[in-house]
Amino acid sequence: MNYPENFRYTKEHEWVSLTGDMATIGITFHAQEELGDIVYVDVPKAGTKVSKGSTFGSVESVKAVSDIYAPVSGEVTEANAILASAPEKLNADPHESAWLIKVRVKDAAEFNNLMTASEYQTYVGAEH
């Protein structure tokens, strides 16, 4: 699987990309694969504050429900509307069209402290 080089990754299998102070957050290919067929995605509305390391939503598959943790702190500016009606998109395209939320970050350093693509792939490989 291709893990974009410009993303950063968490141990809880979220990814984040950063343009200026705007972060886009999603779950990784590995995460959706672990979950299997996704049926519900719950993410916060615009205006909600999220803080790094805290749960901000959940992803539910046929098998199980899993919390999602904020990789960075900030304020939600947009939730991906596609996922309410087509949660299965998260299985098909987790790194692009099926992003979860966009966040205006407070501290870009939080981004830089996360895992790089190659670090994450090593981490995922070591999990097995």
């Binding site: 067929d37 049926v39 429900v65």
Partner: protein, 362 residues
């Protein structure tokens, strides 16, 4: 992983095929291959193949084998004919389940029990301790692999591999014969609600048999299936899963399994407790009305008050609804009861419904 997981003889086959493996009660098992929903639908519409070699086998043999089998199980072993199989309960004296099992009558003096993977050692001890008869009990799990071929195309698939006429084996009967060139026990049983067979063979033949089935089923679009699909298939058909619908603190009467209890057959372990029991709770099906999935362990409310718990819950790929099973007070267990299920601290509306959720057309 601290302790080594147990592996079936097909472990390498699963890994080579890209299955996602999980720790299932100490066994390294495939949870899914192509995808849970895809595998589920393949079994409902065509044919799927499951490795269920983790299941345990116990054999009872000897002049009084029938008496022991009848004494440790709830259903009537005496009524079985040679070549017939029976779903049954193995109970403690207090009426709770040791396990739910399949009893196969091989001969008048020989019975073959298929038991749950996680319970097999416990079951064996339980039966051996109850053996006051002239017969022997053997823990035979190491001698068997088990493959389940399930779906409307299962018999056509399996028939290519055996001269045993499968259509003549009635539902819940079995025959011993050659299958894919090796000796096997072929049972018309399953845990999916579809027609199909379960094939028991020696572990050293498992890979050959697996590959032969995959090849035979190819024209029908056969797919290997994991435990994920096995669970949604059995749930739609309201088949119990030990540790969920049934356990050591649940009796068959509560679990809506009165049909496997034959109080009139004579003494058996747990009988006295069942005779005395006036069940106050019952297993019942529900459908979610609000958004969410009621999963095992979630609390069930009636008029806002705790009244029961969910034993299994999942989206139903066949019905496209969120379904589940739960325990409710007996007097509130009829279909049409408005209930609520506490999903992550929120009470979500649901309603009790008739079961099974899915029944195949004959």
């Amino acid at each position: 992983m601290e302790t080594a997981l147990k592996r079936t003889p097909l472990n390498e086959v699963h890994r080579a095929a890209g299955a996602r493996m999980v720790d299932f009660g100490g066994w390294d098992m495939p949870v899914q291959y192509s995808g849970l929903i895809d595998e589920h639908n393949t079994v409902r519409n065509a044919v799927g193949l499951f490795d269920v070699s983790h299941m345990g086998e116990i054999e009872i043999r000897g002049p009084e084998a029938m008496q022991l089998a009848d004494y440790v199980t709830t259903n009537s072993v005496a009524k079985l004919q040679c070549g017939q199989a029976q779903y049954s309960g193995l109970l403690y004296e207090h009426g709770g389940f040791v396990d739910d099992i399949l009893v196969h009558k091989v001969a008048d003096d020989s019975f073959f029990l298929c038991v749950n993977a996680g319970n097999q050692e416990k079951d064996f001890e339980h039966i051996r301790n109850a053996n006051k008869f002239d017969c022997e009990v053997e823990f035979a799990s190491e001698r068997y692999a088990q493959l389940a071929i399930q779906g409307p195309k299962a018999l056509e698939t399996a028939q290519k591999l055996t001269e045993t006429p499968l259509q003549q084996i009635k539902y819940y009967w079995f025959a011993d014969g050659m299958f894919a060139g090796v000796p096997a026990r072929i049972a018309r049983t399953g845990y999916t609600g579809e027609d199909g067979v379960e094939v028991y063979t020696a572990p050293e033949h498992a890979v050959v048999v697996w590959n032969a089935i995959m090849e035979a089923g190819r024209p029908f679009g056969i797919k290997p299936c994991g435990l994920g699909a096995r669970n949604t298939l059995r749930l739609e058909s309201k088949m119990a899963l030990y540790g969920h619908e049934i356990s050591d603190s649940i009796t068959p009467l509560e679990a809506d399994l009165g049909w496997i209890v034959k109080l009139g057959k004579g003494d058996f372990i747990g009988r006295e407790a069942l005779v005395k029991q006036t069940p106050t709770r019952k297993l019942v099906g529900f459908e979610m009305r609000g958004r969410g999935i009621g999963r095992d362990g979630y609390e069930v409310l009636l008029e806002g008050k705790p009244a029961g718990w969910v034993t299994s819950g999942s989206p139903s790929p066949t019905l496209n609804k969120n379904i589940g099973l739960c325990y409710l007070p007996l007097e509130r267990s009829r279909p049409g009861e408005k209930i609520e299920i506490v999903i992550r601290n929120q009470a979500v509306e649901a309603e009790t419904v008739p079961t099974p959720f899915y029944k195949r057309s004959q």
